[in-house]
């Protein structure tokens, strides 16, 4: 129920909450500022080797250069495209497979050990196989991103589906519902929050996949720049790209979290 008349006590409470939030945000920014200043200072006085450790101003200059010669957005776009594609295929495909496995118990029982093994396998070990099969282009990189996110999605979503309250299923059955209705009226909506956490996990997984995929083979992308920077000892470039990567992953996570709020309105 919406209450429109608030007591002074409530006002004070809300004020306190707000103040807490401001204090925490300030502290968070403070940590970053102090860290950057200290880093810069230590590099300036020569306490740390700026050639090996880089420094905030050098990173900034590198980013500006990359931006000015048009390289920045080119590489960002390449990596982002691979990641988003891997993320989408992994999430949608994984969820679809989880639905099929929920539907058919025999299939689930038969495939279970294979899924478990695939889950524990470090997917990077499949790198050479993927390169041989899918070539050295973006196809291989997207495949890696898909592979890493799809298995987690299958396991998480199937686990959620199977945990749906059997009594709620009984209730729908007593109303004459068929399996399709049980899925769409109950099992899927009951697992929207599972899907949301799956999306959050997959943001990370897809980035791991695409960057790891870029390491060995690619000619473009942030992963490529990082490896290239490492090989020619341009630590400024490595650091700059890592920071861009942090920003991109952070923004993507934030968007997914926003989506979750929209999904599960009833929780508020």
């Amino acid at each position: 129920m919406k209450n429109t008349l608030f007591s002074p006590m409530h006002k004070r409470y809300v004020k306190k909450l707000k103040r807490n939030k401001i204090v925490i945000t300030c502290a968070q920014i403070g940590v970053l500022v102090v860290f950057l200043c200290l880093w810069e200072l230590l590099a300036q006085v020569g306490f740390i080797d700026a050639f090996l450790m880089s420094s905030p101003t050098r990173i900034w200059r590198t980013l500006a250069d990359l931006y000015l010669n048009g390289q920045l957005f080119y590489h960002v776009w390449v990596s982002l495209f691979e990641t988003l594609l891997g993320f989408l295929i992994g999430t949608v495909g994984g969820t679809a497979i989880a639905v099929v496995l929920w539907w058919s118990k025999p299939l689930r029982d038969v495939l279970q050990p294979y899924i478990v093994v695939l889950n524990s396998l470090p997917k990077i070990a499949l790198g050479p196989i993927i390169i041989v099969w899918a070539g050295t282009g973006q196809k291989a990189i997207v495949t890696m991103a898909v592979l890493i996110s799809i298995i987690v999605t299958i396991i998480t979503m199937l686990g959620g589906f199977l945990q749906t309250s059997p009594e709620k299923i009984l209730l729908l059955e007593s109303m004459n519902a068929n399996k399709m209705q049980i899925f769409f009226k109950l099992v899927f909506p009951a697992n929207l929050s599972t899907l949301a956490s799956c999306l959050k996990i997959n943001v990370g997984m897809a980035w791991i996949g695409s960057i790891m995929g870029e390491y060995p083979v690619s000619k473009a992308g942030l992963g490529y720049l990082i490896v290239y920077g490492g090989q020619v000892f341009k630590m400024d470039l490595v650091m700059a790209c890592t920071i861009v990567l942090c920003l991109l992953a952070g923004v993507m996570y934030f968007l997914v979290a926003l989506l979750e709020k929209f999904f599960v309105k009833w929780k508020s």
């Binding site: 129920m1 309250s165 009594e167 709620k168 009984l170 209730l171 729908l172 059955e173 007593s174 109303m175 004459n176 519902a177 209705q181 009226k185 109950l186 909506p189 009951a190 929207l192 599960v264 009833w266 929780k267």
Partner: protein, 251 residues
Amino acid sequence: MKPVLTFDKVSMTYYTKANETQALKDLSFDLFKGEFMSVLGPSGCGKTTLLSLASGTLKPTQGQILLDGKQVTKTSTDVGYMLQRDHLFEWRTIYKNVLLGLEIQKKMTDENVKHCERLIEEYGLKEFKNHYPMQLSGGMRQRVALIRTLALKPKVLLLDEPFSALDFQTRLHLCDDVHAIIKKEGITALLVTHDISEAISMSDRIAILSPRPAKLHRMHETNLSHHPTPLQRREDPTFAPQFERLWKEVS
């Protein structure tokens, strides 16, 4: 008079890998139109099993169950089943929860939706129509669960300890409400309960079950139908002696 629901020598055994559990043994009884029958029995004796069999979600291992003279082989739209807990869908508003059964049976006609709205209004939930279940008290939630069942206009209503999760006060009031609703809509009801006083105050007849495997121990007539409400029945002079007798038989 022809019975609406008949159990004819029904036995039910659950099989698991480790063992088998016989829940019901040779259980027979008739439930007549408009009648309110309670099933009273010790914990774990097979009461929920009995209702699941009647609803058609479970099949007996022996014997047969007849609904309007026809053997029950699958769930029927004539039977409403109210489970031990309300099981409202948290992501649906109260209104949407009530409409669930109609959506599933593809009966979203104007007439049926109006019927639901009337039920919501009549049973005091109008202002909560667009709330989510989390915002409601236990008693209100249970009432919504009842309306969700009534929305499908069942001829027979199966109730599995619908009040067991509520506090005493709420319970007494809800008993009165539910009893009134059932009598007004002319529904035949089969109520499962642990609570002896609830059974006496609500029902016309009480089937007393033995411990597992449940057999019919005795059929008890309450003879209290001349009182309109369960609360009034509790004040009848025969209430206490009936309670005492049933209490001895159940324990």
